[in-house]
Amino acid sequence: MTYRIGSAQGFYGDDVMKALPMIIGGHVDAVCFEALSELTLAILQKDKLANPKRGYTFDLRVIAQKILPEAFKRKIPLITNGGGLNPQAAAEMVRETAAGMGLNGLKIAAVSGDDVLARLPELQAAGEDLAHIETGERLADSPNQNLVTANVYLGAAPLVEALQNGADIVITGRVADPCLYLAPLVAFYGWAWDDWDKLAAGIVCGHLLECTGQVVGGNSLALVNRTNAAELPYLGYPITHVEADGSFILTKTPDTPGCVTLETVKEQLLYEVHDPASYITPDVMANFTTLRLEQTGENQVRVSGVTGRPRPDKLKLNAGRLEGFMRELIFTVGWPEAWKKVEQMKVMLGEILSRLPGIERVEYSYLGLNSLYGSVAALPDDPLEIIVRVMFTAQDQDTLKNAVRQIMTTGLSGPAGMSVSGTTVGAEPRYVIGLWPTLVGRDSVQPVVEYFDV
């Protein structure tokens, strides 16, 4: 007996329709959708400030309209953290959509409690110093108190509760990515919350699934000489067949492009991992250094031997602070004397930017020469063309707009042959959000599960 989990979303904007062939083909028992990167919540906060009924990912509308009817028909639960900053509003939207389609008897669960933005003063008053994980600085001591998001990474327990209470779709806010995938396994197999090896196996299973295309041939350096690029938009997303002891086979949606090999699994196994012997999640510390990988067939890799240790006492909290705005301009400079002219241009821009008091950071890079590799790249002596990217920041957008206006007054006065990319001149400033990763006591956070019936 195995339990089969499909993964159809790895980020906000992924192709969630990849869930349909899994569901219609009868290849899965549950499908998970992971939508939240560190950046996503800040984007959703902008939506929610503009409209209090928003703050969830728009992909959820596609899931509700196109995927939920097929999944509900077959009693395949859907699990997503795409509720973002407003799981209740997302659940309400799904309820209305489902009612309009006549999905009578559908049960929706919304999991919240992760959003502690409004509770930060209360938490600090209760003794949580919310010190930055890296620097140790206390949040209260930091001069920038312009907080826009603060979300705790929840574990799988409230999702398991929702599934065991018969939810057909579970919509959450911030839940640690792999815990989304752990939840249906715990709900199905009834693993104990201190059965660390099995929980850790479920976490590895979730970690391998959570980036969809990245484990079936996408973003694969190992496969660069074997990739059929025309197939990349159609990669069949991954599925695991999990046994009761936690070992599993990773495969993909049958009869679709892509591949699952030892290489694709190794690449994804270490993606966004720090200490592989202590992969920290809210539910268990997973050890990746004891596991075994085995190619058991075409597009089938078996994963076994994962071990785990007790879960950490504290939960991770990531806060986002608005730090200001950034602006980009791209100039091109050609041969002859390209480097000399670039240096003159930088002096000229420096003169303009330094007389504007609000300008903070200014960074230059040369696209195609060192913008990716910095000092690793050796610069050519006498290039035919140099593309200069200038980034600068300020607290307010007007300072940036004013800077661009003043820079553009040199259009006929700059170094010979200097040209500016028109699309960058016309672009809008972008937000600069600084992240504040910290820890909070487990008891300070109470997940809430609410149900919405159709």
Binding site: E38, L270, T289, G320, V376
Partner: protein, 102 residues
């Protein structure tokens, strides 16, 4: 042709806040033995130069013949505040694999 780390290994970079990790996955058992012996955290830190402002920590995975390098202060503040063209640091794996190999 100059021999590079890429001839012995492939890898992928990932981001968490201002921390990047770079996996270096050996192409053969012999290659793993060689990179495990020679590819120290100090050497990685020196090679990546101004891309990584903080420390580099190395982890070993004998079971899959791979190393994992965790690079602190490596993403100009992280995806949400970086001014780099590659704010997620996806190209950092390539930057490391470009290392010349004796």
């Amino acid at each position: 042709m100059v021999k590079r780390l890429y001839d012995l290994a492939y890898g992928r970079a990932g981001d968490k806040g201002n921390i990047a990790n770079i996996s270096v996955i050996a192409r053969s058992p012999e290659a793993y033995k060689e990179i495990k012996a020679k590819l120290t955290a100090e050497r990685v830190k020196a090679h990546l130069g101004d891309l990584v402002k903080g420390r580099v920590v190395r982890y070993e995975l004998d079971n899959i013949e791979a190393l994992n390098f965790v690079c602190y202060e490596a993403l100009d503040g992280g995806a949400t505040r970086s001014l780099r063209i590659d704010p997620l640091g996806k190209s950092l794996a390539g930057a490391l694999l470009y290392m010349e190999w004796e």
